[in-house]
Amino acid sequence: MKKVMNYAFSRYWKKLKALFLIMRLISLLLLVGTLTVSARSYSQQTKLDLRLQDSKVGDILLSIENSSRFIFIYDADVINSLGKKSIEVKGQTIDQVLDQLFAGTNVAYRIDDRQVFLYQKDALGKVSPIMQGEITVKGSVTDASGAPLPGVTVAIKGTSKGTITDTDGNYSFNNVPADATLVFSFVGMATQEVPVVGKTTINVVLAESTVGIGEVVAIGYGTDSKVRVNGAVSKIKSESLASYASSNFDQAMTGKISGVIVNQTGRNPGDDSQIVIRGMGTLTAGTNPLIVVDGLPLSEGSSLSSIDTKDIESIDILKDAASAAIFGSRAANGVILVTTKKAKHGKLQVNLDVQSGVQERSDKVKLVDAYDAAIWFKEARDWGYVSKDPANRSAADDNATRLAKGASKRELNLTYTQPYLDGKPGLTNTDWYDAIYRVANYNDYHLSVNGGGDKTNFYASLGYHNQQSIVIGSDYERFTLNMKMDSQLSNRIKFGINTNTSYSVKNMVGDGNWKFPANPVDVGYIAYPFFPVYNDDGSFAVSKQIEGNTPQDGALAENPVAMMLMSKNRQYNFRVFGNAYAELKLTDYLKFKTSVGGDFRSSFLDYFQPSNIGQYRTHVGSLEAHSNENNIRAEDYIIDNTLNFNKKIGKHTINGLLGYSYEQQTDINSLLSATGFVDNSIDNVAGGSNFAFDGNRYKWTQISYIGRVKYNYDERYLIDATIRRDGSSRFGKNSKWGIFPSFSLGWIVSNESFFAKDKFVNYLKLRGSWGSTGNNQIGAYSSQALVSGDDYVLGGTLAPGLASTSSPNANLSWETNKSYNIGLDLGMLKSKLNLSSNYYNSTTSDLLLNVPVPQQSGYSISLQNIGKVRNTGFEFEFSGQNFKLGEVSLSFNTNLTTMKNEVLELGPGQDQIITGSNNAFRTKVGGPIAEMYGYEITGVYKTQDEIDNSPHLDGTLTGDYMVKDLNNDGKITPDDRKGFGTYAPDFTYAFGANLNYKNFDFGFSFVGIEGRKVYEKLIYLFTEVGEGFSMADQYYFDHRYHPVDNPDGFLGQPNLGNFSNNRKNTRASNLFFQNADYLRLQNIQLGYTIKSNTLQNLGIAKSRIYVTANNLITFSKYRGMNPEASADDPLKQGDARNTWPSIPKTITAGVNVTF
């Protein structure tokens, strides 16, 4: 009992410690933030040096502006009338300087941070504006880069009077009261207020709105200010994506926001990651979130690499059901809205971004070298031989004696290892992982052009991405072309078109198509270091290990480097997606929009394995060449029609949406395999003479009706409701339609009159939402019993056969997710600090579950709407912007998400599903999905007495594992298995900061995961089981038990050839359920912005150089290759695919130039 408690406590304590660590980090960041708050403002800390003789006051002010960041706002006439002055100051503050300058004049001043307003004092000393009456104010509005901003609203504060800037960002505003304040506002930019104080020219630079309450988020079929959104929506902006060097934006999303886990499960560059939003809510249906690019939903599971990260303006993630319900049946896994860069008004702007670097492996896998390997194989073979009959056998027996005593091949010594055992120096000692991995190149180029005239704007970009894998023979090359055009055809009609084209070529390692028994990275751990990669003449040393190992049946592995480089596995992808829309303004408050979108994909896979290489257990020459090619063509199209209503009546704002959508997707897939090659001269199917064809086509359709109402009273009370009705062809004829409603409430407390605005907290909002979404990600015809081909031969002649392969289910219908979300948003210190927090509780019912069924039915599994799963957790996002520490400005962000997953129901009469390798995964009612399940190992038996005197598995040998008798019945039985945790973590966290100093910028971010377990094949089957067939890793070798060589070892004694029940059963045990928690330095970046006149003369408006490093440091106890490479199947998530290449460390440098 005590032991159990201790265990529970220590487990708990570890979690607590991790939590404390995070709390400390957060408080440190908070402290930094607070320090900057208490620091003095710009005007107080800036010291001026001036020495001007007999200069006009206006010139003196100009000189101050040039040498500092102060801006003077004044009427030139009045200042000019002051005549010339001399001034000489050193290290003085602005008010000291101005006091001196205006001493004896009637000019007064007021300083607001960097803005200095100059006034005329009247005779009574009362401050009044210099000018009275109404004036005309002119000026221009630009963004931070100096690009003109057309369409900016310029209004007089407190009135409805206003104007907008023209295409060049200029405005002219008549009849402005001289004492008025102008408000400049623009979507996506921070609103700025400027007092006129008599000035006739006011030029304004608008800053992009910081991540915070003022920003605009995409909500599906529209956008809205974040303050008006009641659900859980998080935004990632382009600049934070840019800090991660990757072909895919999904990887760059890692750790950026709460509630979203991105597992880098791709094997090749350009492969997608697994994105999990708020936990796994499904068991069998697809787990992909819906990805919507500029309003166009991408085909589920279609590659994300066809979108160039550098074309992305922002990504909004709809996490709760209420936000996602507008996407109805496809939204149960969350919705990711990608907004690409927009066409902008104004003069032509050209941007070039060049980024290059290198990548290398980051894992800690180290296999033993040849000398240790020789010891290892000897120990394993000796013990395998001796342990079968210890009375009659001895490790000293030579191979002939062993054979005479009935030894099998693997109980013989590997004869060729004797020189290694003798310690002879200079023998072949290949590190196969060194040979398989490499330092890989990374290159990315992106050129964009942006501009427009009066009515029409465009954005066009060209991207080229070229990336090698850290594994030899694999690389990825991509070309992207994006074009966007918006045109205001008339006052009422707007038209736009937008296309995204990509072409890529990917050379792959080990995919489903691979006919080797294992991919080359897998072969790396059964390739022995005694054999070379190359022959002396530089050619590949082929089949050397097969020859060497045949007599004693060691691993008959082919040279993985040769396998990789001599074969071909190449995929060509071409894709165009985009949409065209027309928007008709019916009245001032009613708009109709119709949009037609398409997604056309074609991919071609070309595979060839020549005959001049062997493969596992197959010597070169005994396998003919073979090839196959796979053509995939997919066409989707979608038509959306929406009617949008938007009206403000007094304090009531109503926004309504009605819509209709039709979508259809067609896929054609044809696979041609060829054998019967005469030679290797034709490296594609055309060289074959014996063919097999497999063709598959499918089509599915969906019809949706959409409605949404958003109501807002006085920016205080917000009520939203949506409803969507979807019909899908994938479901049974009785249950095609599903209805997905949602409802949400928001209360902006800080807009109440009783709320004191000037306090520390300036913004407070409470939110609550409930909604329902669906999941239809099953095969196109899953509700129908299908008949598939299974052919036979009669007397050598092909006899086509057919058989039912799935059972029908006319009632198969939506998997439904119902969730509620409670949120609190806080803005502090004028929204420099923002906290957003959520509690979520989502329950998925009618799970589309492949239920294991009694096999006497003729089926092993049956797809049914059965079962219920619940995910709950908290999310926190805390960020701060624009804190000043002297000339350093700082922003930071942190997030933390907790997640708990519980299975509430499975099939009728079913309380658990046990699956996966060695039956190591249990999904049990009341427990989490895919809990790792097995025996608890407490040590290694070193004597027969120890075995005899404790409960043990039958056939336990010394050197085998002690297993804990959990139910204390004196026997070790399957009832002594228990759960050890899941791949789904307990919580995830991330934190990072950005600093700017003069022209330098610096940023970093860490991401972490706690409470994750991984069951990796590399460990449970190869490097750490002690079987002596594959290579041992250094950890296992150092800690293995051997009565003579390593008596203090605590891992099983190497034993090849005599697998006891003990060793077989304990493959599913705590020993192999590895802790895969990590804290990773996701990125660290240093940039420098060059501002020089020379560049300006060359037409370069802005240029920045930067260095970025990704995944440079990872703190983790995990000993496998990649702690994120989980199996796709939710029921065995964490059953990591063998030796997925590790997540690369990347260092790149880049230049970004704007013309």
Binding site: Y662, T675, S729, Y781, S804, P854, G858, F1059
Partner: protein
């Protein structure tokens, strides 16, 4: 008002424009048939029948595992590298099988797939009209034969197994079904075979199909297994009397890949290399060859040295049925290797052949005290093998001689283990064998049945595990 009018106009237009879309919500598979509309004519049924035969071709049945389970545990055969393939064959050889051993899981699963496919045909065929009613009868008989064959394998491997003879409409219906007692399963097997004998023609319409002789031979074996000697004799004698089958004069012709489906073959699972993109072959040869000798060789089912030594030098079968490698490892030669694509071997797997009928009949006659008939039958096998007549004379000695001849003649064909078990000799023979070869292994009663797959029990715990696992 005007607004509402406009609104309704727009939606009316849209609704009309897309009204056809609702029809699109019904989609039928484009490249696959739907069971609802399938099995509607003779052609469909013929394809479905081939689908049942195809189930036998799988590695999970006659492609690999069923032959192995009849040999590897026995004294005929050994596993060269017990550790190979996760030790699944090694466990068979050394009697250390555990319920997660994939061989059992796969045979169980695939047998029921085959049985269900046969059930579907049998359920549907009556409603379909055939141009020739004899063909329809023949197909029914073929399905009954295959269903019986699969159940016969299963009862011999596991004992009680759930018995299902109906087409599945809802897989969930089977939750709660326990294992059917062996006797009831045998009753069904006997019924199926009796029906099949009535339905099947004597000569096949295509080479490789089950015929009356196949069902009679199998029923004879089923009776023999249960010790029903006179029933067995009736069936086996009928096969002999049909005169459709004979011992080929030359042993090298029996398994020749150029001479498949010959007069000695009563039922074989058909394989062919280089057909259908090399997907109709078997990889049994490479799996059963000594490791290192041919591509992908695993040494999973090698004749023991002791067995090899039982062949006299005059025995014509030596060097034809089996041979030794350069380093003296015996291996089977009844299958022809494919040297360029080891997993696409073209040799059929012979399930039933006339030599087996002759030897079974000899055994039955001897048991029924017709020892001289038995001796004649035995000698017909020996003569073909180039051997002298047997010297055995007493019933007991003849019985032993017949069993020895079964080992020599039927080596590697998947009979030995089941012969030992049915004759109650498995425990004594194996323990003696292990003792003589210095292997530290002892078996007992529980080893005569193999473990029920863990997955099956995990799915529905009403399925009980066999004793001792």
């Amino acid at each position: 008002m005007k607004l509402i009018y406009k609104l309704s106009l727009i939606f009316t237009v849209l609704a009309c424009f897309f009204s056809s879309c609702e029809d699109q919500l019904t989609q039928y598979p484009i490249t696959k048939r739907v069971a609802d509309n399938f099995y509607s004519n003779e052609t469909d049924i013929e394809s479905a029948v081939m689908g049942v035969y195809a189930a036998l071709q799988s590695n999970n049945l006659y492609g690999l595992y069923v032959p192995a389970i009849g040999e590897v545990p026995s004294d005929n055969s050994w596993e060269e590298v017990p550790a190979n393939d996760g030790g699944i064959f090694g466990q068979l050889d050394e009697f250390t099988s555990i319920p997660i051993n994939g061989i059992f899981g796969r045979i169980w699963q695939q047998s029921y797939i085959g049985i269900q496919r046969a059930n579907v045909v049998l359920n549907r065929i009556d409603a379909i009209s055939f141009t020739d009613d004899a063909v329809k009868k023949a197909r029914k008989g073929e399905m009954q034969f295959i269903r019986a064959l699969l159940y016969f394998n299963m009862v011999r491997i596991w004992g009680d197994v759930p018995l299902v003879t109906k087409e599945t409409t809802n897989p969930n219906d089977f939750f709660g079904q326990t294992r059917t007692p062996v006797a009831d399963v045998y009753a069904q097997i006997e019924k199926d075979l009796t029906d099949a004998i009535a339905n099947l023609p004597e000569a096949p319409s295509d080479p490789g199909r089950a015929v009356k002789g196949s069902a009679q031979t199998l029923l004879g074996k089923v009776y023999l297994t249960q010790g029903k000697y006179s029933d067995a004799k009736t069936q086996l004698q009928a096969v002999v009397n049909s005169s459709l089958y004979k011992l080929l004069p030359n042993v090298s012709d029996v398994f020749s890949i150029d001479n498949e489906n010959n007069e000695e073959i009563i039922f074989s699972v058909q394989f062919a290399s280089g057909v259908n993109g090399s997907s109709e072959g078997s990889n049994a040869f490479s799996q059963f060859s000594p490791s290192g000798t041919v591509a992908s060789a695993k040494g999973h089912d090698l004749p023991t040295h002791e067995l090899y030594n039982l062949y006299s030098d005059q025995d014509l079968r030596k060097g034809v049925y089996l041979d030794v490698t350069d380093i003296g490892t015996p291996y089977l030669k009844k299958l022809t290797p494919n040297l360029t694509n080891s997993s696409d071997g073209g040799s059929d797997w012979v399930v039933l052949r006339y030599a087996d009928v002759v030897l079974m009949l000899a055994e039955v006659d001897n048991q029924l005290n017709n020892t001289s008939t038995a001796i004649d039958l035995l000698n017909s096998i020996r003569t073909r093998a180039g051997l002298q007549n047997t010297t055995a004379a007493s019933k007991d000695d003849v019985d032993k001689a017949i069993q020895l001849e079964r080992r020599l003649e039927l080596v590697g064909e998947g009979h030995r283990w089941f012969d030992l078990v049915r004759r109650g000799e498995a425990i004594s023979t194996m323990n003696a064998y292990f003792n003589s070869t210095g292997k530290n292994i002892t078996i007992d009663q529980h080893d005569l049945l193999f473990p029920v797959p863990q997955t099956v029990i995990d799915t529905d715990p009403v399925i009980t595990q066999n004793t001792g696992y």
